[in-house]
């Protein structure tokens, strides 16, 4: 099979799986997996393809969750408008974070994003619009164009699946675009990219805004699914979780982070009522195992296996 055929077959399978998933699994769980998968893939666009480790992505996820929740609940905007507002807010926040952080390298970049995200968390805790410790409860799901009632999990599922598919498509396209090429060049050798006349900071900023916007789409969609936005969404914990998902799935592989998100979310869901707070310990162990033994993550290791089995190196 040629590579193009294999890729197309892969996409068909993925679409079929998306369409059939609610027949076999609880739709809300699948939707949660999808939201975090989009979150992780958006994060990976930045870390895996621009080489920027942000430790503040919860700000975009949580920020968008609150904005969408507020718009849906207080202004009664249609569902899609709420999601759009959340996404735009995250993009704007991403632009701001990016402007402040992008000149810094490595650990300093991570620290500044973390600090900024903590400020956003503090704002979410303090302002009167977010419901403080309780978060925004009872956000209405509304309907799609006044036609399809989204209170029904099945109906909502297909909307969420379509939105996430759109998000994945944008990421995939961005990675394989002229912009993505420059991004890879910058990641590979920044001084060389500069010497070729690329203003690397502007490219990194665009990558950051794209990543923040798609993270926002994931966060806003999550609000719609669960009908609430809470402080957990904006907590530093969430920023760490997305790093874990990305590493478990495979850093720098297009869909590895989605697999990682699936594994982590499902595990948390299954374990929550069995082991209680031990979940954190288990997550920590997975993290350590991943860093020590499976650097390439699930998808990365599978790809390597496939390559060594077929002798095909690229």
């Amino acid at each position: 099979m040629s590579q193009a055929v294999r890729i197309r077959a892969g996409y068909l399978l993925a679409v079929a799986a998306l369409l059939l998933a609610p027949q076999f699994f609880y739709p809300v769980l699948v939707m949660k997996v999808l939201c975090f998968a989009l979150f992780a893939c958006a994060f990976n666009l930045l870390l895996g393809y621009a080489g920027l480790l942000s430790f503040g992505h919860a700000a975009f996820f949580g920020g968008a969750a609150y904005v969408a929740g507020y718009a849906l609940k207080s202004w009664h905007v249609p569902a899609l408008v709420g999601l759009l507002l959340g996404t735009l807010a995250a993009a704007a926040l991403g632009w701001l974070f990016g402007r402040l952080a992008i000149r810094r390298q490595g650990i300093y970049f991570a620290m500044i994003t973390l600090a900024l995200a903590q400020m956003v968390y503090f704002i979410c805790l303090q302002v009167p619009y977010t419901g403080g410790e309780d978060g925004l409860q009872g956000v209405p799901r509304g309907s799609l164009f006044g036609l399809v009632d989204l209170a029904d999990d099945r109906n909502l599922y297909y909307v969420v699946a379509a939105l996430c598919a759109l998000g994945f498509w944008i990421i995939e396209r961005a990675i394989h675009s002229p912009f993505g090429q420059v991004l890879k060049a910058i990641r590979e050798n920044e001084p060389r990219a500069i010497s070729l006349g690329y203003d690397v900071e502007r490219y990194k900023l665009l990558a950051f805004v794209l990543s923040a916007a798609l993270t926002g789409l994931a966060g806003a969609t999550k609000t719609l699914v669960f009908s609430f936005a809470s402080l957990t969404d904006a907590e530093w914990h969430t920023s760490g979780e997305v790093v874990l998902m990305t590493l478990v799935g495979g850093l720098g592989t297009v869909y590895g982070p989605a697999v990682g998100a699936g594994v982590i979310v499902t595990l948390q869901d299954q374990l929550a009522d069995k082991v209680g707070s031990l979940v954190s310990v288990i997550m920590g162990c997975i993290f350590v195992l991943c860093v020590l033994a499976f650097r390439r993550g699930i998808v990365g290791e599978l790809q390597a296996l496939y390559r060594s089995a077929t002798g095909n190196r690229y």
Partner: protein, 262 residues
């Protein structure tokens, strides 16, 4: 002749200090348009630092730089590159996990003006490939087009770097030890290539291999401890007593220097 008085690059009393240590001290350099100008000097003389200053990878402590008559002292490195002064690096500098073809294509790509288009398919870059292949042919790499750059031999990486630099069609190339670490044949090939590309551009190069300097360069500036020691043709410079003492005195016979060091 007009171009003999026309300088593509001029610096005026360029200084760079690193915490009190003067790495480049009051260097006034003038590179004639259309010539190959060598910057030589012992290790640590400040040649690479000079390159970093000229291309704005480092800020000068004082002094000014004019490129094509325009003061570029306050510009950013990418801006300088877009003006047509493109550098290579002393340590070979490729994009290791892109293919050889992609390495050159990424340099060509800027001219399309679509480099921020994240919604456009990579396929839109395919029309750059004939030009990229032609550039690769120029440095003898066309059969390696599909190879990932990290797998090339050292000499070929340097050749790839040259092809990538040429892709920008620069007016002035700054080459930092282009033959460093190369075998004889590669050195000859690079020398010929440099002569060929100099037909319609200017070149400023750091070079340790005196055979190359003598063979291709029109003007030579000798740098020692950050300052200009001498300047002139190879014949003039190689007879200069101060130069012989400070730099070439280390090599027997005076003229064939070491092949190059880090």
């Amino acid at each position: 002749m007009a171009d003999t008085i026309d300088y593509i690059l001029e610096t005026d009393a360029l200084v760079r200090e690193f915490r009190g240590f003067v790495a480049v001290s009051s260097v006034s350099l003038r590179v004639r348009r259309g010539r190959i100008h060598a910057l030589i000097g012992p290790n640590g003389a400040g040649k690479t630092t000079c390159f970093n200053l000229l291309t704005k990878f480092l800020e000068p402590t004082s002094g000014s730089i004019r490129f094509n008559g325009v003061d570029i002292t306050d510009e950013r490195p990418a801006e300088v590159a877009r003006r047509g002064m493109v550098r290579s690096f002393q340590i070979s500098s490729v994009f290791p996990h892109l293919t050889v073809l992609e390495n050159v294509r990424v340099a060509l790509q800027r001219s399309l003006g679509t480099s921020f288009h994240f919604w456009r398919s990579e396929r839109s870059l395919r029309r750059l490939e004939p030009r990229a292949l032609a550039l690769l042919a120029e440095v003898g790499l066309e059969e390696f087009a599909g190879v990932v750059a990290v797998e090339l031999s050292y000499g070929r990486k340097r050749a790839l770097e040259l092809a990538t630099t040429l892709a920008l069609d620069p007016q002035l190339l700054l080459l930092d030890e282009p033959t460093q670490g190369m075998g004889h044949e590669d050195v000859d090939r690079v020398m010929q290539l440099i002569r060929r590309i100099a037909a319609d551009r200017s070149i400023l190069m750091v070079e340790h291999n005196m055979a190359v300097v003598a063979g291709v360069c029109d003007t030579i500036t000798v740098l020692a401890r950050g300052s200009v020691l001498a300047e002139g043709s190879y014949a003039q410079v190689s007879r200069n007593a101060a130069v012989l003492e400070a730099y070439m005195g280390t090599a027997e016979g005076g003229l064939v220097g070491p092949g190059g060091r880090g």
